[in-house]
Amino acid sequence: MTYLQARGVVRSYGPTPALRGVNLDIAEGEVVAVTGPSGGGKSTLLHCLAGILRPDAGEVRWRGERIDTWSEAARSRLRRSTFGVLFQFGQLVAELTAAENVALPLLLAGTGRREARTAALTWLERLGVADLADNRPGEMSGGQQQRCATARALVTEPRVLFADEPTGALDTLTGEQVLTSLVRLAREQGTSVVLVTHEPRIAGYADREVVLRDGVVDHGGLGLETPLAGGRR
């Protein structure tokens, strides 16, 4: 079943176009890598799919329903209940402990604090950082922070997980450990993953790769907008 659908998505920052009409389908349980050169629109596409940014034109559908027309609050609730997001760094709230950070989506949705904490501890355990439950992000290494962030992204058992260069700030081994647990846990739950990365090694975790170049999907990864048009010189 198709989970997410992007049709002709256009988005600019001021006069600078980031996406110039992107079409993309993501199926249930599918792990899709979005790759391509810097400035190709990878992160912007992820933000549009996750409902963080509203596209200037085009449609984004979740299970067939348009979400780009939803209000900010409705998209926030969808993100909280159904999506999980994981960035390179900086998404944890510096003033809250690891357990509180992981429990945050549940707390915001109205779950009681004790129940939310129990769920948070379970997920910290799964990511192997249960002993850091009462530390604040400032007291953890980058890898530990990223594990907490992963636990938070998964605590609501989301249907889609959006990860934007999740290992970008980590060394190879730590990054691999984080990513391995992320993909494994996502696959166990049948969660789709949209994985933005510029590293082929990271893209290797996906079932499928989508190359974005100059704001459009580059089919076949040929490095040209229009593939193979009259190339002889």
Binding site: P200, R201, A203, G204, Y205, G221, L224, G231, R232
Partner: protein
Amino acid sequence: MNSERVSVPHVLLGLLAAGPRHGYELKRAHDERLPQARPLAYGQVYASLGRLQRDGLVVAAGQEREGGPDRTAYALTDEGRAALNRWLAETELPMPYVSSTLFAKVAVALLVDDVDRTRSYLAAQRQAHTARLRELTAAKTALSASLDDVVAADYAIAHLDADLRWLQTTLDRVADWHREVHS
């Protein structure tokens, strides 16, 4: 990818360091410890052992016959251990020659002066590399994977990753060059 020839005799010396083994056991151990390497042929094992015995690096440590062919066990000599240590202590020359088929094909394709063909070759190769990378990643992250599997897969993945980066950069360069020529 790994066009470099691996010194089979030295690998066998290493496998014997744990204790005497038969030729058949050595082949199995080799395939287990180096899971992604090209599997050894029996003939190759016995030929290498013969040479090592001739040079005094291994000795036959006994024979047993249990309703099958002759099974000669081999053991490491002191000289053999010294040779093994020397080999392990030697650093490998970092990429003395760029001599991969992949590189040669791209260089030749550019020489033949057909940009489209170069690009479609690069794109096809990129897809093949990516597919293999995915396969290896899946094998490595499987719950049943042993440390040997992971280390071997890591080695291959790191090389595929490097190749893929090179392929991507070259694709971009060809595209830039193409734009430059046709604008």
